[in-house]
Amino acid sequence: MKTTFPRLWQTVVLLVVVGGVLLLALSGYLAPVFRVALHPFIAVQGWLSSRYQALHEFLTVPRDVALLRQRNVELENQVSQLQTQVIQLQQQLREAQILYALLDFARARPENVYVAAAVIGRDPNPFIQYIIIDKGSDDGIRHGMPVVTEQGLVGRVDAVTAGASRIQLIVDANSAVNVSIQSTQTNALLAGSLTGDINLQEIPQDVVIQPGALVLTSGLGGDYPADVLVGQVVTVRKADTDLFQTASVQPAVDFTALKAVLVVKNFKPVDIVPLIPTPSH
């Protein structure tokens, strides 16, 4: 009995102490003690862990770099493929936009029959302004047919082969188009030049032309259909000593960026040369 009581008391005291410590720990009163006590262990654990990480990286990183490099090459290939696809799609989008614009233009004028053609080249002679398109007599294209885009007049067919045609642009130095200034209903002659500028000639002196006036084909001479937009008047040159006034015109069509055109198939140019009187001998 003598030995059991103290043991019982020891156990009770131990349980009370443990319980008290637990209660103190759970209630947070022992946190400073734990912090001080655990600090060296945490420091040692941190050092040990960092050394292990360093060793692990030393043993495994070379293999990872090789894998990463391989993966990098794969991804770079994929990026370049995707970039190529993006460029192709952008190109297709641009072509589609041009074709949609031409289609809208053609739908707005159901009376005309059009053949759409892509511009595939330019004349090698820099003095003249001609383009080559990928449609020819096999597609019904004939000499003299007018060529337009959704923006306005481009020119007319100059030469035809089975699969391609050559188009004389209205900016060519040898080109002459009979036009009408919309605001004044005045007829004039539109001539191209070496530099690609187009000018209105033979405008009567008494006509008042404002910059910005629209210039349309008049249909006179039978070379072009009437009322196709050509451009806008930019500046007017008038001198009292001249018989006629002249004006420079901003073309409606951007001739430097021509990609596709429409050939008006159902317009037959009229050759009026036999009707022009010649002096009889």
Partner: protein, 168 residues
């Protein structure tokens, strides 16, 4: 071999000319790839054959076919140029690259002048000063830029062709 080669070479060059080179402008001048290739070939000609004449005719006919320039001016121009380059080759034979630059410059001026004169004769109004400053001189510069790459390619081509003919 040299004769036959003229057809594929100039077909490719004419396509490149109308599709690419004519799209690049310096002011209003453009390069003439076909003419430079012809000059380079004439300078490479070894004297054993007269393939340069065939090359000039093929180049002239092809350019005359695709261009709206009247009266076969490219054909006549390239034949005249071949004569000039052959004369030049005899006098500047030790420095072919110098001859190449010289012939290209002379050839450009000659052919552009012929274009200008014929267009004037056929009624195209071309002002002389603008033609010189906006078309001819820029074209000369563009052609001089194209000289080196074309000369290198044509030299390689000539080295490929002539040994084969010697073996035969």
């Amino acid at each position: 071999m040299g004769y036959l080669l003229a057809f594929p070479v100039f077909i490719v060059l004419t396509m490149a000319q109308i599709g690419i080179v004519s799209q690049f402008h310096l002011l209003h001048g453009t390069g003439d790839l076909v003419m430079i290739a012809l000059v380079a070939w004439v300078l490479q000609e070894r004297g054993r054959d007269a393939s340069a004449w065939i090359w000039a005719v093929v180049a002239g006919l092809l350019v005359s076919f695709v261009s709206a320039t009247p009266m076969f001016v490219p054909l006549i121009g390239y034949l005249v140029l071949t004569v000039i380059v052959r004369i030049l080759r005899r006098h500047v034979w030790q420095t072919p690259l110098l001859a190449m630059f010289l012939a290209t410059m002379l050839g450009t001026i000659l052919i552009q002048f012929m274009y200008f004169m014929v267009l004037q004769l056929t009624g195209t109004p071309l002002p002389w000063q603008e033609s010189l400053s906006l078309v001819m001189l820029p074209s000369v510069l563009l052609n001089l830029i194209l000289v080196l790459p074309v000369y290198v390619v044509m030299t390689d081509l000539a080295h490929l062709v002539y040994p084969l003919e010697e073996e035969a």
